[in-house]
Symmetry: C2
Subunit: 255 residues, 2 copies
């Protein structure tokens, strides 16, 4: 029987330690095909390149058995272009990450890691985005590798319901201090923007995005709560954005 | 009593006919503040600029009473930066558009128009994205103006439930041929990518995104169905992506 085909991408770029750790973990589970951006694309959400040409080039980065391509596109482009022109057969699993930094709560919306995973779900491929609660590219990724392998193996075995992807966030703790996995909901928190206003050498004002994350959701069933308490959080996220429960409530708009 | 403050943005850029029509319509309902990208940002979804400085400059484009700012950022940046540095008080309504082209079905995910509207919803502001089923910048926008004003007026009056924005798509028809408004769900359709592969003058292959939209959802309660039948479609969309109904189903991942 053919090994499962695992499509790997990310948003931190193909040379980021996070995706190298994910590739190493997936090599133990199947045949790995990597199609990933050639540079950092954090915060690119579900954005897609419409008005620019895209490149797709084979590249060899380490000694692993995986096949790799880099693209100048964003994470969702990598998925679309990779599925159209790099795969020989339909992938059995799509994994995105390991992101350097959490994508819990409302961060899922801005996340290129999760944009790519949701694009995989739209294509009907069981898809998972993995993120680590640490922004340091020097961080120890071994505990995360353990959980990425565990969750990917189970999804390869059981599949996922149609229409969803998994948003997995991993606490930055030694393996023996991670308490396990919690299936959770997206916490209802938000960012408070606080742009840093500066003046450039030519006297023109500019702004850098800055902000504080505001923990407003006190629920104990959220991804934020799970992570804070030492668990890997798994949120099933869907690309049907319809608030079905409000359709009837809004019928007065039809008058 | 102070007039309601209406925040206007878009993804086609501040000089696009669509946003000029939206501004004209909103000037009849309240005090209008425009913060919009200085160039085209179609397909930018919920992307946010993290690693680049942003500019925010006052600009005068027409003779209307509105106050306007342009930014080099994307649609979600325009909302974040505008709310942080351009508004004097909290807006009563945020409107995004009028997009040149439909954002029904799965297109809502790629849409910068809707990224901006959802960002408004995250900020707790009643927010609406408007899109027209026509890509031509020369299209007659008068029928769309009628419906944008009608829906915005009602949302100003009634508000919207917390956690959602409205995704409004308007058929390209003469006003007397538009049959009315339908509150609908997002159709479960998708794109079939078909990249156009070319070779550049230096012999390197490149790809242009191209594709066919595949109408797979046969439901009569969808936005696609409403539009096809001459109705303005209104989908309540939420930024909580959790597939709540699947949390228990996935509990086996916790073992």
């Amino acid at each position: 029987m053919a090994k499962p085909l695992i499509f790997v991408t990310n948003d931190d770029g193909i040379t980021a330690p996070g995706i190298r750790a994910l590739i190493a973990a997936m090599n133990e589970l199947g045949e790995v095909l990597v199609v990933a951006p050639d540079s950092v694309h954090s915060g690119k959400s579900h954005a897609v390149t419409i008005h620019q040409p895209l490149y797709l080039d084979a590249i060899k980065i380490d000694d692993g058995p995986q096949k790799e391509y880099k693209t100048n596109g964003m994470p969702v482009d990598a998925v679309k272009l990779g599925l159209a022109h790099a795969v020989q057969r339909r992938p059995d699993l799509l994994v995105s990450g390991l992101n350097h930094g959490v994508n819990n709560s409302v961060n899922v919306l801005y996340s290129g890691t999760m944009g790519a995973a949701l694009e995989g779900a739209i294509e009907g491929i069981p898809s998972i985005g993995f993120s680590l609660d640490n922004y340091d590219w020097q961080a120890d990724l071994e505990p995360a590798k353990h959980y990425m392998k565990k969750i990917a193996r189970q999804v390869l075995q059981d599949g996922l319901p149609q229409g969803i992807a998994l948003n997995v966030n991993i606490p930055y703790l030694p393996l023996n201090e991670i308490k396990g996995i919690k299936v959770a909901r997206q916490a209802q928190d938000k960012w408070h923007e606080n742009y840093d206003k500066r003046t450039n050498p030519f006297g023109r004002d500019y702004y850098w995005l800055n902000g504080n994350f505001s923990y407003e959701d006190k629920g104990t069933d959220t991804d934020v709560f799970a992570l804070k308490n030492g668990y890997v959080s798994v949120v099933p996220v869907q690309y049907d954005l319809t608030a079905h429960h409000l359709i009837n409530h809004l019928k007065n708009l039809e008058q």
